[in-house]
């Protein structure tokens, strides 16, 4: 009986060591595949600023290379030593015999597999406080610049309008200018005048942890038909409204058309 228990314990210990050998390359490959797959599926910018896409993808490729190297190395040295330390970070290069840290490392990979990338939406916008172009000075990206008033504004994106109104918040300078913007709807009674809604996107500096909701105020002509997070294309002209004692640039829509969801992030 005692001999059988000892054998079982020895077999379990051997299994743990085997798992500890197998898991690090598996996890390195997992993170490599996760990162590279974001690039291949063109969804990496749903997590980070486009400026970081190339270095991040390169890191994914390096992680895959390290995983292949680790597997080859294990094959070369199989049976030469045994798992020794209790921490991967000890620097000795031997696998940890403890398995629970590897379980923790699996969590992000499982989350990534089960829940495909989804953009931040109205909840995050309200949590972070929406920034209204023309009311808040919106800094943060070199593309936000002052535009010449003689320019045809019908091609302006939401980001262009945010930049223009940041540089010159006086609505009179934009009165009657054509507007055609796309973004998601947010009803934020605390941030916009009654009867208006916001059409917004998120501006990313580094990753979505710092994303800021930035939008234009649009007169709500839908009679409640538009819901939060719904993507719309707004076509109209720039006007002005009074809000909290100041004149605010607002869009007077001619048409608000539901549209396919686009990239919610600007950088």
């Amino acid at each position: 009986m005692t001999i059988r228990i000892e054998r079982l314990q020895a077999r379990r210990a051997a299994l743990r060591v085997d798992l500890a050998r197998f898991l690090p390359p598996f996890l390195l490959a997992g993170y490599g595949v996760f990162i590279v797959s974001l690039f291949v599926r063109h969804v990496m910018t749903w997590y980070i600023n486009p400026a970081y896409v190339w270095p991040t993808t390169a890191a994914g490729v390096v992680l895959l290379g390290l995983a292949i190297f680790a597997v080859a190395h294990r094959t070369d040295t199989a049976g030469e030593g045994e798992a020794c330390c209790t921490s991967d970070a000890c620097g000795c290069g031997q696998p940890s015999a403890r398995l629970w840290p590897y379980v923790g490392l699996c969590i992000p990979l499982l989350l990534a597999v089960v829940f495909p990338p989804r953009s931040l939406a109205s909840f995050a916008a309200l949590q972070r406080g929406p920034e209204i172009a023309g009311m808040t000075t919106i800094h943060g990206a070199p593309t936000f610049h002052r535009v010449s008033l003689s320019v045809d504004t019908s091609t302006f994106s939401l980001q262009d309008w945010a930049g223009a109104l940041s540089a010159d918040p006086n609505p009179r300078d934009f009165m009657g200018k054509p507007v055609a913007i796309t973004g998601m709807v947010l009803h934020s009674s605390g941030s916009v005048p009654p009867g208006y809604l916001m059409v917004l996107r998120f501006q990313i500096t580094c990753c979505i942890a710092d994303a800021r909701p930035v939008g234009l105020v649009v007169r709500d002509t839908s009679r409640g038909a538009l819901k939060d997070n719904q993507w719309v294309k707004v076509i109209g002209r720039m006007g002005a409204a009074s809000y909290q004692g100041q004149k605010l640039a607002v869009v007077e829509p001619r048409q608000i058309v539901p549209t396919k969801a686009g990239n919610p992030y600007m950088s």
């Binding site: 690090p24 980070i48 600023n49 390290l66 190297f69 030593g81 330390c85 808040t136 580094c206």
Partner: protein, 315 residues
């Protein structure tokens, strides 16, 4: 699967932080592994003066040249510590290098091009705070007593190679052939990356949860006045843990809400201590040492920003 928005946002932010930090963490770990294999303790320590104050000079100089932000520099600092570099120098390097590196300073100059003083004030304040915290905390105990257990063991046996568990590891010191050294560096990189990622996940999880469950206005709306403004921006920097190479652009977006000394506090405190990097620090130092570093850094940055406001540097 449909999740409540809080859970969905938490997952997105959590994964976003990991994806964004991966290349920087990997870069730091690669540098650390190459140093581990190719630079012997003797050769490294030859460049570090024994005097604690003078030893800060090479540490901060290396920090200026190292192209790593706060995710990558912990791995490099751990390697310095393992090789026997004084703790005070390593703490100074750890705190200053994310700010003093040329990429971060250049980004600050671009973002605050209408306030060029911000560049030298950020760099200078980072230098002073890092050196002071390094000296105070680094001299508060014997080197190994301040370090995380596994790192202290590695440092103690840096030359003996006896890990105390019945076998011998060959840390290369110039005898192994080049191919073997690269193989060792590759193996070390994978193992160290996973080791540090384990800890970073915890910081990322807490940072994401704070973002989801604490409204931004609760952090930035402490109250009015310079004291609250500095406290708010330092709290925001700690919670957001933005990469030091781009945080200047983010700080700029608060320039209409907060006075410039508060933005300076954000730019100096954030790269030194964020939820993400504090977790990583625990792989190098004992928890009480990390607390001491955090408290002292927060106090110094807060007081310096307050002093700069009183002196009216930005007016």
């Amino acid at each position: 699967m449909q999740l409540p928005p809080q859970a969905q946002d938490w997952i997105s932010i959590f994964l976003g932080i990991i994806v964004e930090a991966s290349p920087f963490l990997l870069l730091g770990v690669v540098l650390s592994s190459l140093m581990h294999v190719f630079v012997s303790e003797d050769r490294l320590l030859r460049f570090v003066p024994r005097n604690p104050v003078l030893s800060l000079v090479p540490a901060l100089s290396v920090g200026m040249l190292m192209p790593v932000c706060e995710c990558g520099n912990v791995a490099v600092a751990r390697r310095f510590l393992a090789k026997g570099v004084p703790v005070s120098s390593c703490i100074a390097f750890l705190l200053a290098s994310p700010i003093l590196n040329p990429v971060a300073l250049f980004a600050t100059a671009i973002a605050f091009r209408y306030q060029p003083d911000m560049v030298w004030l950020r760099g200078g304040l980072a230098f002073l705070v890092a050196a002071t915290v390094g000296l105070v905390v680094g001299q508060s105990g014997k080197g190994e007593q301040l370090l995380a257990t596994s790192l202290a063991r590695e440092r103690m046996h840096a030359h003996g190679h006896d890990h105390g568990h019945g076998h011998h590891h060959d840390h290369a010191h110039g005898r192994a052939p080049e191919a073997s050294k690269f193989s060792q560096a590759g193996h070390q990189t994978g193992s160290e990356f996973l080791g540090m990622l384990q800890v970073m996940l915890l910081g990322a999880a807490i940072a994401a949860a704070t973002q989801v469950f604490v409204p931004r206005s609760a952090i930035t709306g402490f109250g009015t006045g310079i004291v609250f403004a500095i406290a708010a921006m330092m709290s925001l920097a700690f919670v957001l843990s933005i990469c030091s190479t781009v945080d200047a652009f983010f700080a700029l977006s608060y320039s209409s809400l907060f006075p410039t000394p508060a933005l300076l506090a954000f730019l100096v405190f954030g790269p030194m201590l964020g939820m993400k990097s504090t977790g990583l620090m625990l792989t190098a130092f004992r928890p009480r040492v990390v607390v001491a570093i955090a408290v002292l850094t927060a106090e110094l940055v807060f007081l310096a920003a307050l002093l700069i406001n009183l002196k009216g540097v930005f007016i």
